[in-house]
Subunit: 255 residues, 4 copies
């Protein structure tokens, strides 16, 4: 049974900061957002977690393996090196959406994202090492079948992007409402989904849904593990099996 | 009349590189993609352009103000500092979609994105300084009305994200097919759209469409200029007028 | 008694890489070197260690608290994100120079720094958690008394730099030969020294030596701890005592 | 005749910031300093200039090719993305030390480096395009003959570092006092020196001096150009000639 630890990372008072005293250069905001995300990706990733850029001012991470002190250190280090600060809410749940809801509530109860007095909150709880298992996290790694041949080398780059975005939008809604899962576009034609205990038929159904609704053909590799890196790495290898064998769904523990 | 110069930035042979000899740690790929994007944002942004992360392995930029030598230098510098290389296609057009199509074709004709022999292509043409004007670029900066009050402080962070993604997906398709425009989510609740010569009623219609189709309420500031930064900065200020006055559409040159 | 764990980080085959096939832009080399160092500083620093840029192609770190797997991960992550790779040699010793000598020998025995076949070596041993103590690391943080008033606001910036460099050069030689210690300039007017078990009189003597030989007046705060961060943070606080009280030497455990 | 444009880049009020309200983690300060330097290296380097990390809170750049607006933009962009701000002083001179002196004075007259009210000064003048020539900048690129064979593969890494530092300290003092030149260690065994119009015999003398005083054997390639990149690139190529032919001094325009 999965036990996903989810952290919501929120930049404090970001909207107002971007326009005070005057609007700031857009290219600088993009650089700041991307580099802050990249740093969090290294910190969380080096401890076996995954963080997704999401909206950049709000980022969602799967942090099984990071304890409360790790969260505090991440917050301190970012505060030393950026002109903005971070608030963090952490929670766990048998499904990722539940964990994220609780993590969000933790921050919302501490104050508004644009409350100028709310700075560097750290709320919630992490899983004790003694209670962790190698079934805590399930990760599914989807990609578009032969995106390069079907889209990148054929359509203009924006129309390729539209196709992939529409596929992602359908998958994200379906996985959230049908399966309490969190889906994130991670570049190229790849979507990583954080799932509870799903079965082969759930993934077959999801792929079929996206094909029908958006005319985008996906394949998926699924893995599980003690943390996001272990689960996700297993999923990447399972996806290689899809590519090699021409299959649509591969669960690492069933091959 | 707009004359948008668009550059398509494509990482050479990226898909294969990410899994050779073995799949690479996802957190490292995210870090690499984000930092490469951030560097391009600084290079292009410091010359008055905008670049959008798009799919990270394919990035779209508005590069009025950058000449061919600037493109060559960007390519050389990235090649010196990253384990991957970039190919660049540049073109211009009276509408952004046309310019992007031509830029894409330039690269497609040079070879596949995953052709291991195609490296560091630089194809296309830039606008001579003598032919530039302060109407070359039109930028519209949309955001969601009171996203913090309506979503961020109320829903869980993923459901807020879904709402904003659905709004973005509707806007992106509408603006592309109805108005030959390119729309990019840039973080928070913001979407920047690169447009041809559009009028007040075109923006009113777009906002209405998104409200009807996705139940997301947008406002927009629009600017124009010789380059993306000038146009976009004017648009940001126009958006501040929307916020201050409660209006839905503000064109900088009509206030 | 100190038990310093020292890691030598060496970029593989760097000299040849910088000029193959042609010399690379110097500004790009500086950017690459600095950002690689910054990443290692985050990785090592987040685990309680310190890394010093030293010669940039060879960097020296105090890595008490990092185990062998941490070293392997650092190496893998850098290899995924940079166009160069790292070799690492780790060793421990009752004095820092001895530890560094052994770490260096580990790499030299594996092959030349410019041996094009030697890539990503990882040699040596780390301290078991069971054998660690809070006296393992001793750090001394020196700075120049009122550098701003005496130099920065008075001389031209290069002459200020010469004064500080001459002070550093004297201190580095004295501490290495008289006290088996490793000294590193860390910016501004600060030098951090990694020491064995030194006493108050050793620091008084070092300060006197530098005053006589280079006419530069130093003060120093000293701390110890289980790792470099703990020892160094204690040393920073002790240095604040020097500033507040006008003293020249403060040992954190004696105040 | 050389006409070097030198910019002094100084972080405002940095000393106090690093200890307010409490001392900050050293690893974070190192990361911040290095990444700020790397960004300035990209900005200045992409415009044909060179910047040297020097003391990190004070950095010296050769900025022929950058105008006043470029300096203002660098300052604005850094202020948008870092928790510190920069002050810049620019001046020109027939010798680099004179130019740097004037640039320093510009900032000193505006206020102390630790004056909490002095922020983001921009003082001085740049060279008009009409007055530039390809003899404006002379760059000499020194390195240690066979550093890898003589030091890196033989001594422990700190003793190698001491040898190179001693050689650098001698060269820097000699070149400043005998030849009004600015010398900067740039990593590995390399020192880049910004010179006025020096001749072959001046370099032969400098090499002889360092050999006698520090027992370190140097070779040097020298170039000139309209900006630091052109001069420095020519110097790198001349240094390759030293390596290939076994000569000690090569001036690019005399080969």
């Amino acid at each position: 049974m999965t036990n996903t630890q989810v952290t919501l990372v929120q930049i404090d008072n970001y909207g107002p900061w971007t326009v005070t005293p005057e609007p700031r250069r857009e290219a600088d905001l993009q650089t700041l957002q991307s580099r802050l995300y990249a740093d969090i990706s290294q910190f969380v990733g080096n401890r076996g977690g995954y963080v997704f850029f999401t909206r950049f001012d709000n980022m969602i991470a799967v942090t099984n393996g990071l304890d409360f002190e790790d969260h505090r250190l991440l917050q301190e280090s970012a505060g030393n090196r950026y002109p903005v600060t971070l608030s963090l809410g952490v929670a766990t749940g048998t499904d990722p959406v539940q964990a994220l809801s609780d993590a969000t509530t933790r921050l919302q109860e501490a104050g508004s994202a644009q409350d100028e007095n709310r700075r560097e909150c750290l709320e919630g709880r992490t899983i004790d090492d003694a209670h962790r298992s190698d079934e805590d996290v399930q990760i599914a790694h989807f990609d578009v079948i032969d995106a390069t041949g079907n889209y990148t080398d054929e359509l203009n780059a924006f129309d390729t992007f539209i196709e992939i975005e529409q596929g992602y939008a359908e998958l994200m809604r379906h996985m959230r409402y049908a399966h309490d899962s969190l889906s994130f576009f991670v570049g190229g034609d790849n979507v990583i989904v954080v799932c509870p205990d799903l079965e082969d038929e759930d993934y077959v159904e999801a792929i079929h849904h996206v094909e029908e609704a958006a005319d985008v053909s996906l394949q998926v590799g699924v893995g599980h593990g003690e943390n996001a890196h272990d689960a996700g790495f297993e999923a990447k290898h399972a996806l290689e099996t899809c590519r090699a064998d021409g299959t649509r769904v591969e669960l690492a523990w069933e091959s």
